[in-house]
Symmetry: C2
Subunit: 336 residues, 2 copies
Amino acid sequence: MKKKITVIGGGTGTFVVLSGLKKLSSIDLGVVVAMTDSGGSTGKLRDQLGVLPPGDLRQCLVALSDAPILWRKLFLYRFENGDLKGHNFGNIFIAALEKICQSYDQVVETAAYVLQTEGEVIPVTLQRLHLVAEFESGKKITGEGLIDENVNETSRIKRVYLQPSGKANPKAIERIINSDFIIIGPGDLYTSIIPVLLVEGISQAILQTKAKIIYILNLMTKAGQTTEYTASDHLIDLEKYLKRKIDIILVNNGSISKKIIDTYRRHRETVVIDDLGEKDGYQIIREDLVDNREIEKNQVDIVYRSILRHDGGKLARVLEKIFYDQISQDLIQTRP
Amino acid sequence: MKKKITVIGGGTGTFVVLSGLKKLSSIDLGVVVAMTDSGGSTGKLRDQLGVLPPGDLRQCLVALSDAPILWRKLFLYRFENGDLKGHNFGNIFIAALEKICQSYDQVVETAAYVLQTEGEVIPVTLQRLHLVAEFESGKKITGEGLIDENVNETSRIKRVYLQPSGKANPKAIERIINSDFIIIGPGDLYTSIIPVLLVEGISQAILQTKAKIIYILNLMTKAGQTTEYTASDHLIDLEKYLKRKIDIILVNNGSISKKIIDTYRRHRETVVIDDLGEKDGYQIIREDLVDNREIEKNQVDIVYRSILRHDGGKLARVLEKIFYDQISQDLIQTRP
């Protein structure tokens, strides 16, 4: 029986994890996708056409695509001029499908068909909702896009919630409950990961599942959102919304070049300090998880923040070992 | 051996003919598509992105599509709001493909693959060019879109030409030379049909081919382009650019409702008068060819001019008989 692995998220980090895990043949891979993005092309399509946010969904569908490279390139293609300037073709494709399909399931199925996507891609909710962040200063920001752009914030986020509160897609609940492992991160804590956990029914499903929860810690802090956060800070905030304890934490111990660190520093972002030690009750795995290759253009949306990424292949190798160890343990336990 | 049938054109008329002929299983069907459109969504994409005009190509690919209705609907879907307002999804799809494909052949193949298009769809040229019309008044208009919109013109078109003069796609030449029948029309004489004939190499191929040429006469005149044209006027202008004689003319003799005639009259367009009699050297077939059904939304772009159309099924039945008669004649001739 294949282990059921469910990734939670939606941004570039999720793209990397999925791209890595896709190559493992012995797992049943799926992803529960955040549906609160409101920035860029996605935000415009939401506002102008009244569609659900297509961006994160598109990235996950492409990450798990087995189609020829042309199709993946097409779905990641961004127009550079005219009326379509800044819009991503994949987003337009999904938006047009939503306009003519009977259901959002049909939208996902149709996009998955043309991309030959292997694995289950599940929007966490099919309701139109926005993320709201309340800061300790009392400031309140509505919209994931605006929260993402609020990089000069000095106050910490006090809490985030959804407006209106959304009900989870039953498929997401079912998948989480029946998973063997749930993988959270890497990704922006407050705008890629917690928005999934906030959807009504998700944290209950996470409480209910027998799955082990693996958290892949971010490499860098995110200005205005996790400014100066250490590893422990990430963990505390995440578990607050997760409403249960994480089991396994993957921490990078590979070196990051000074040049990259300097680039991030100019944006007030720094390496996440590993202050976890040998924290009780957690399995902490420290490995070199950094991607040192040149970033291929068109493979993901390139912004400065993406110049440093986890290596999908390295992540997959570490994760595969975790899955394998579990299978061994299962075998020992079921031995008469 | 299947008869090789090649349709020439690109507008709604071509869509109807192709949709009808598609149902005949015993023919090898293809279309040579006009590449001079510069109006609407197509025109904007040309101007803003520097792509070849996708509109006529898209309509032909959809007409010959065997894909589930969803795909055909998707390719004909027109956005109604925001940045994408007025743009047709199929046009955006073809434009994005052109941006990432190695060749335009690959663009057509990829779109044909997803639409499961049966039959050869050939852009008449792969060069970027515009149609220019010179009127008897001395007025000159550049751009098919503008010529189309020039509905208040009282002067006749003196000549049309391409700027720059374009070379034909070798596939178009090959297909025309090897065809058994070439079907021209229905469609706007000066903005859908003659633009194909103007491309360098096409009229030479038509002179060279053994194919019989069938002309499907338009039902109505087109204001500013064929104002008050009779059937003979259409024939004279067409043969001038075709540089050879037409063999068979299909003329509608089915009745057109007064309500529809009145609608067209408000736009100074009238029923094309059949003044052909029993014209020497032509086989003239008069049949009821009018579509009396309700027009299904989304099936083609609906403008007032499309409320009256040829019936694809009726056309196909008449054409099938012509093809069959030819097969019988061939058999008689090859009998020892």
